[in-house]
């Protein structure tokens, strides 16, 4: 486990290094003055600019500038937005939790729906139900998310008026911010209309989360199906059958656990995929998250916002990736060190 941790840590440091280098070099790649791009001070006068140049170490070598930049990023000084002039740290810390909330709920929906369906497909391998599930998975995998989002709004918000079509919560509810994750904040608040607010926020959340979950759910179906098929071929399943266990017993007590481990391995990669889908869905559902903000920053050419937004978003994806790797290693002893005897 120690070697595994060290290897992951190594990869983590290397990645963070690469991401900060990318983010740092973006300031030079974007049009305009690198100092303005990195700090976001568009309308600064000569004195302020000189001060900024001093603080970013513009008179030193490029390597020192990079070190200063990394120091600033890790101490939370992200600069200010070129458009709104707000400190980017504040902006991101209000937006990121909304994205985290949306994507985690979507991941949960995708897993809860996808994995059992995939198992059913594997158990009924090459029968009609397997074929139907596979075809549906193929269709769900091929549908472009922005189209589904619009269709969902048309059907559920406009024709059936079951769910609201935009935003995170109705503005009539005033919720005190604590952690930023709205559902938790509502539960912790001492408002009189707590449960009304909660149900309102949930109904805002369901539609975008379901739209995001569609494609990952179909991938989970396929992953779960492949994993289950592989497990059912293994010698220990044959041994369990030879012991005289019924098929249901074999599946419940042996196959499902081992198949789940194989799926956990892919969660990190799927989460990265899910975040991208979430970015587009946030635009369609006007969800106040980091994805929509980032895409708007690209329209507005807010270079400071783009470089910090990308850094934060990709670090977030990578941290989840590493965490899921650890979860996998913790669950599966084989992943920690199979060097011996193989």
């Amino acid at each position: 486990m120690l070697i595994f941790t060290l290897r992951r840590l190594n990869l983590f440091i290397f990645t963070i290094f690469l991401l900060t280098v990318l983010s740092f070099s973006l300031a030079f790649l974007f049009p305009g003055d690198a100092l303005v791009n990195i700090s976001g001070q568009v309308s600064a006068n000569q004195e302020v600019l000189a001060e900024l140049a001093q603080s970013y170490g513009k008179d030193q070598s490029i390597f020192n500038q990079y070190v200063i930049y990394v120091g600033k990023v890790f101490s939370g000084d992200f600069g200010v937005s070129m458009i709104s002039d707000l400190p980017l740290l504040d902006v991101i810390s209000t937006l990121l939790p909304a994205t985290v909330e949306l994507s985690l709920v979507a991941l949960l929906i995708a897993m809860v729906l996808g994995i059992p369906i995939g198992f059913i497909a594997a158990i009924r391998h090459r029968k009609n139900s397997d074929n139907i599930i596979l075809s549906i998975a193929m269709i769900g995998y091929s549908v472009p998310v922005f189209w589904v989002g619009l269709m969902a709004i048309q059907l559920f918000s406009i024709e059936l008026s079951m769910f609201p079509s935009a935003g995170q919560i109705s503005p009539v509810y005033e919720i005190e911010r604590q952690y930023g994750i709205l559902l938790i904040d509502i539960l912790l608040s001492d408002s009189n209309y707590k449960w009304q607010a909660f149900s309102d926020a949930t109904s805002h959340l369901i539609l975008p989360a379901a739209v995001i979950a569609l494609a990952p759910a179909t991938i989970f179906i396929r992953l779960a199906r492949t994993a289950m098929l592989e497990v059912l071929e293994t010698p220990y399943i044959r041994a369990a059958k030879a012991k005289g266990l019924s098929f249901a017993q074999v599946v419940y007590s042996h196959a499902i656990r081992n198949a789940l481990i194989m799926i956990v391995r892919h969660i990190g990669l799927q989460f990265a995929n899910l975040i991208t889908i979430a970015m587009i869905t946030e635009v369609i559902f006007s969800w106040p998250g980091i994805g929509r903000w980032l895409i708007e920053s690209i329209y507005q050419r807010d270079y400071t916002a783009i470089q910090i937004g990308l850094l934060v978003l990709s670090s977030f994806i990578f941290i989840v990736h590493i965490l899921s790797d650890f979860l996998y290693a913790a669950l599966n002893p084989l992943a920690r060190g199979k060097k011996y005897g193989s």
Binding site: S142, P144, I158, A272, I275, V283, L310, I317
Partner: protein
């Protein structure tokens, strides 16, 4: 009666023929393959096939519903948009943009990726380890996000979109080629030709490439379905093709404002993207399935 063959000879089809026979067995894959060819045909001949120009506006028939609707007209089969442009013509022209460009993108990134992948498979030590780490990092970022990043650097536009997606797809091809070559390199027949005195280049072209071709083709179909989605998504977000262009994603975002009065401006472009991606995925699945069957027999 003359007989061509006196001896009963057992014939073994070559691997590629075996693959083709297996591929033809699945009816749904056949349908998908034919539709794929039809899409390629439309992409090439769209200017001849389309009844109108994609930018011509017919002022007297704005927002005409599709022809099966009571208010529709046969001369505009799928209706018109808010500027009176024929949706069918726009979709046909869009095929060469969304589908055709994704094909071009895949071909470019395949060539570059396979070349880099072959070189990197033959290097060892620190260089290869650094490359491996780099690939790990790049591959862990989803393709669309990476494309958005690159477009943010290059600036919006259809050309930049293409370069962005090419750059995003190259690491995937490098990864697949590199792993396939490394795996193949350990096998005995490569050792045999090495003992015969073949140099690395000859081993690659004569021994290894014919055997990893199918893996690369499978990756190419996945890459193409990703490329279609990415081009359309960037067009939809307004970062790709500009609005007047009949790119399917841009058409979708153009229709959003009128979604509630004229839903057909959204239905058809979305349908087109969906069908193109579905067909590509089905062909890819078919290829993968046939390779598996051929290997197992």
């Amino acid at each position: 009666m003359a007989r061509d063959k006196i001896y009963l000879e057992e014939e073994f089809p070559s691997p590629i023929v075996q693959f083709w026979l297996e591929f033809r067995k699945l009816s749904i894959v056949n349908v998908a393959f034919v539709s794929f060819l039809v899409l390629v045909f439309i992409a090439i001949f769209s200017p001849i096939l389309a009844p109108y120009s994609p930018t011509d506006s017919h002022i007297d028939s704005l927002l005409m519903p599709p022809s099966w609707n009571n208010e529709g007209s046969v001369s505009f089969l799928l209706g018109t948009d808010q500027l009176g442009r024929d949706i069918l013509s726009r979709l046909l022209h869009g095929t060469s943009l969304t589908f055709g460009l994704s094909f071009v993108v895949v071909v470019i990134s395949l060539v570059v990726g396979v070349v880099i992948g072959s070189f990197s498979a033959l290097t060892k030590g620190v260089k290869s380890s650094v490359l491996n780490h780099l690939l790990d990092v790049v591959l862990s970022i989803p393709s669309l996000l990476l494309a958005i990043i690159i477009v943010a650097i290059l600036g919006p536009g259809i050309e930049n979109t293409i370069w962005a997606i090419v750059m995003v797809l190259i690491p995937q091809f490098v990864h697949v080629t590199r792993n396939a070559i490394k795996e193949e390199y350990k096998k005995d027949y490569v050792l045999a030709s090495k003992l015969d005195g073949a140099n690395n280049f000859r081993i690659l072209t004569y021994s290894i490439f014919p055997n990893i071709l199918e893996k690369i083709v499978t990756q190419a179909t996945f890459a193409q379905s990703a490329a279609i989605i990415d081009i359309a998504a960037l067009g939809f977000l307004g970062l790709g093709a500009p609005i007047p262009m009949p790119e399917w994603g841009a058409m979708l975002s153009d229709g959003i404002d009128l979604f509630y009065i004229a839903p057909w401006t959204i239905y058809f472009p979305g349908m087109a993207i969906f069908i193109a991606v579905l067909i590509t995925n089905l062909v890819g699945e078919g290829i993968r399935h046939s390779i598996k069957e051929v290997k197992e027999n």
